[in-house]
Symmetry: C2
Subunit: 152 residues, 2 copies
C-alpha cells in the first residue's frame, strides 16, 4: 500500500459490502439516507460532524435528526464510533481495522484536522511540534464497557 490512508476502489467496495452485510444481519433497513451515509463513511476519511455529513448528503437531503439517529444505530452495531475533539460537536467515523489506526492533530484555534500514522505518545508530541504547532498537548482516552455494566 503506497500510502497508509489511501484505499483502492476495490478495497472500498469490499468494505461497503461488509458493512451492508452487517446491516442485513441486523434488523436495520437499507433506506436511501442510510445507504448514502454508509457510502460517505466508507469512501471518505472521517470523522465527520453531523453538519459535514448533511453537506455531503446534498443528493439525498436528510434531516439532522435522522443523521443523529442513524449514527446512534450504527454505533450500536459497532460500525461507527463517536469522537470528540473538545469543541462540543459530535463526530463520527467508521470503525476500521488495525491498519486504520491513527491519531489526529487538532488546531486549538481553527480546529483544522491532520492525520498522523505513528502510535507512540512521546515521540508524537515531538512530531507535532516539528510540524510547526506550539503549545502542544495531547489527550489519550480509552473507552470500553466496565465490568459492572457488562453484568446488566
Amino acid at each position: 500500500m503506497s500510502h497508509p490512508h489511501t484505499y483502492s476502489h476495490a478495497d472500498q467496495a469490499a468494505r461497503l459490502e461488509q458493512v451492508l452485510a452487517l446491516l442485513r444481519d441486523s434488523r436495520l433497513k437499507l433506506t436511501r439516507p442510510r445507504r448514502a451515509l454508509l457510502e460517505i463513511l466508507v469512501h471518505e476519511h472521517g470523522p465527520f460532524t453531523i453538519e459535514e455529513l448533511a453537506v455531503k448528503l446534498h443528493d439525498t437531503p436528510c434531516d439532522p435528526a435522522t443523521i443523529y439517529r442513524n449514527m446512534a444505530a450504527f454505533e450500536d452495531l459497532d460500525l461507527v464510533r463517536q469522537c470528540d475533539f473538545g469543541d462540543g460537536m459530535a463526530r463520527f467515523e467508521l470503525v476500521g481495522q488495525d491498519e486504520d489506526h491513527h491519531h489526529h492533530i487538532i488546531c486549538r484555534k481553527c480546529r483544522k484536522l491532520e492525520l498522523i500514522d505513528l502510535c507512540f505518545v512521546r515521540e508524537l508530541e515531538k512530531l507535532v511540534r516539528d510540524r510547526g504547532y506550539t503549545q502542544v498537548h495531547h489527550s489519550l482516552e480509552f473507552y470500553g464497557i466496565c465490568a459492572n455494566c457488562q453484568r446488566e
Copy 2:
C-alpha cells in the same frame, strides 16, 4: 513519591502559591469564587465538569456562568486545560508538570472514570482489557496552535 497521584500538603500549598502568583501577574483579580475554584483544582484530581465544580463550591455559591467564565480565563493563562470525554460536557483540569501525565479509562455506559499511569498505547489497551473492560478502544488527540494561526 509513594503514589504517582498523591501529593503532599506541602506540594499542594506550593502549587497553589505558583498559581496565585500567576494570577497576580495577570490582570485577573483574586475574587472569592476564583480562589475557591483554584483551591479545588490544586487540591483535588480533575478533570471536573462545571456541575462537579459547582457542587464542590457549596461553601462559595457560584453561578455556572461564572465558573464557565473563570475556566475560560484560566485556560487563557494556560493554567487549566479543557478535556472532553465524548459525553457533551466540558471538563477542566489544572495543567500539570510531566509527572502529572496520565490517561483515563471511561466507561461507555456509566461514564465512570479511572486513572492510569502508564503511557504506551498498545500495552495500555491490553491493560484496560485486563481491568475487565470489553469493547475497548482509545482515542489519542493532540492539541496545539498550528503554524497558520500562530501568524495571526
